[in-house]
Amino acid sequence: MSDFFAQGGYAFFVWGAYGMTALLLVIEVLQLRARQRTIRARLGRLMRIRDAGANDQ
């Protein structure tokens, strides 16, 4: 098992490359999920404000 993580002494390079790839792909997905939630919340709020304004008149 430790042989696997050592990668023949090239652990820094192998895991440095794979680590950055995993990090960026995971961040992209999390950012996209958060963005979709933000957009939906903002549009919903705008709609409620508009509806409330229409009822007041």
Binding site: G9, Y10, F13, V14, T21, L32, Q36, L46
Partner: protein
């Protein structure tokens, strides 16, 4: 043709389709990446022999080459949608181009990053102004330029057209990267990237590389569609179908 493609070209009808496709693409992505990583780490030799021996760090190939391929392919896809948008003036095409760009930029950065981590142990340097490295760096700046130009113009339709033109002009970088080998014959000179021949690659290595490539591809479909749905909601926020969607709640 019985199937009316323009029906799917409207943001309102593609929004739910994309929503249903995203989970399918995630499942395929996880399977392909799992298979590719397993095969790359456990079904291949630790070291590659030959005149130019590669030690364990050659395993970076299983993300480096797929990321580099995707960086070029996604640029072609982005330009394709941008060109269709310019010719047919279809809203969804421009949105597709916008949705692909950030994922393409990420894969371009990863191609450069993983290349640097491979270059250090094999060539003794993280970076060199080698033709292929330099042209890939230019491709990265083109993605950044496309995103920056689009966000710098307030009128979204003008932004679409201006960014599309920039992307089309930049398409020249894709063949430049493809043929950017300053040393066609490795016996004549030392080159960082040499002409590659997929038929010469060991079957297990090729299999892992292809699994990772298709995994990155389906990943790009999933993230592009996720981003596309956000763009559609923002741009169509005044339309009736988006209001209905927010009222009823979105299942997909």
């Amino acid at each position: 043709m019985a199937l009316n493609w323009f029906k799917f070209a409207s943001p309102a009808s593609f929004y739910p389709i994309a929503g249903r496709l995203i989970p399918a693409f995630w499942i395929i992505t996880l399977v392909l990446l799992g298979l590719g990583l397993y095969w790359g780490f456990f079904e291949t030799a630790d070291r590659l022999g030959g005149s130019n021996a590669q030690k364990e760090y050659y395993r970076i190939i299983f993300i480096h080459v797929p990321a580099a391929w995707m960086s070029m392919w996604l640029y072609v896809v982005m330009v394709g949608w941008a060109a269709i948008g310019l010719v047919f003036n279809t809203r969804l095409s421009f949105m597709m181009a916008n949705a692909v760009a950030p994922t393409g930029a990420i894969f371009t950065f990863l191609a450069l990053w993983t290349g640097a981590f491979w270059g250090r142990p094999s060539w003794g340097t993280y970076w060199d102004w080698d033709p292929r490295l330099t042209s890939e760096l230019v491709l990265f700046f083109l993605y950044i330029g496309y995103i920056a130009l689009h966000s710098a113009i307030d009128d979204v339709r003008r932004a679409d057209r201006a960014a599309a033109l920039l992307a089309i002009v930049g398409l020249i970088m894709v063949p430049v990267i493809f043929w950017s080998i300053n040393c066609p014959d490795p016996n004549q000179c030392a080159a960082l990237h040499q002409r590659s021949d997929l038929t010469q690659i060991d079957g297990n290595i090729l299999f892992a590389m292809l699994a990772m490539t298709f995994g990155f591809w389906t990943y790009s479909f999933a993230t592009s569609f996720m981003r596309l749905r956000g763009i559609i909601l923002q741009r169509e926020s005044e339309s009736v179908w988006v209001r209905d969607l927010l009222d009823t709640g979105d299942k997909a």
